[in-house]
Amino acid sequence: MNPLIAQIAAHSPGLRDWLALTSVIFSIGLYGLLTRRNAVGILMAVELMLNSAAMNFVIFNRFCLPARMDGSVMAIFVIAVAAAEVVVGMAIFVALYRYRGTVDVNQMNTMQDPVISIEGPGDFNREVMKNINKQYKSRHDH
């Protein structure tokens, strides 16, 4: 037998190699999640992470419980959940885009402050906030 082939065969991937692969994919997804600003881009990164997690189930199934199918079943559940998540996610992005004209997550800050941007001296800023608080109140009173 060719020694080279024997050498290659000796490096046949084991459980740890597979798990290392999924870890790498997961961390790539994590990097994307942290750096991307577009919501759709973030969702794609999440898909990568979900995918590597699902693969972990199959890997453990294959190496630790080869006679059963629990891991595959779990992976199917993950795929189904991912599909559901993408559907709802996309619907939300489309709705967001409709109202805000963008899907940049950095601009999804209406919950923190009704004022989008103010450029001016501090006094004016405070005046504006007062006005807005008044509006809040009058709305609430009604």
């Binding site: 991937p13 692969l21 942290l34 199959v58 199917i76 996309m90």
Partner: protein, 206 residues
């Protein structure tokens, strides 16, 4: 022996491909290219599933991800016009933070994997017909059966479908309850020939 060698080479080749494509997914500035790279990454993952003797799962992966999810993402990219606008280059700070966190995760998880003992079964041969086994497992109850989670997943999918429709549909006209068919407020201005016919046929010259 030869089969084992081929398996090894295939594994490293596909793994390298997957990692490269995954890197493309998170680093490409054009989102549509990222979606194509995602399609590639998910397809190579299907190849990995096939190597793990989960053929049925590989088929499902391609069917659901490539045929469904990626196409949906592409549509979403087009609908939200993310494809036209290049995504802002993330700042160096962002990149650094992301790299540190993800590499930290990678190191810790690989370390954990290498450090833990696993109960690896010796007779590692998967059953010949995984589709049959999966079908039985999904509809079975008792130990090894997943019928309840399966039903829950069906419910989840239904809810997701309804939720998607409700969230993404057009806004109803103001002043009407949120139950109408969701007509555009501006649609009344659109001249539609069908609506025109009813009120003007009477005055037809003859």
């Amino acid at each position: 022996m030869i089969a084992s060698a081929i398996y090894t080479v295939l594994f490293y080749a596909i793994a390298a491909g997957t990692i490269l494509l995954a890197l493309a997914v998170v680093n490409t500035r054009k989102l549509l290219r990222a979606a194509v790279a995602l399609m590639g990454a998910l397809s190579t993952t299907a190849g990995l599933y096939a190597m793990l003797d989960a053929q049925f799962l590989a088929g499902v992966q391609v069917l659901v991800y490539v045929g469904g999810i990626v196409v949906l993402i592409v549509f979403a990219i087009m609908l939200t016009r993310s494809g036209e606008l290049l995504e802002d280059n993330p700042t160096l700070k962002r990149k650094l933070v992301g790299a540190v966190i993800s590499i930290g995760f990678l190191v810790s998880s690989v370390g954990a994997v290498w450090g833990s003992p696993f109960a690896i079964a010796s007779a590692g041969k998967a059953p010949a017909n995984d589709a049959l086994m999966i079908g039985k497992a999904l509809l079975d109850y008792g130990p090894g059966g997943f019928v309840v989670p399966f039903e829950v997943i069906s419910l989840l999918l239904l809810a997701a479908m309804l939720g998607g429709i409700v969230i993404a549909r057009k806004t109803p006209p103001t002043g009407q309850p949120f139950t109408s068919g969701g007509d555009l407020p501006g649609e009344a201005e659109v001249y539609h020939p069908l609506s025109q016919r009813d009120d003007e046929t009477g005055g037809r010259a003859s």
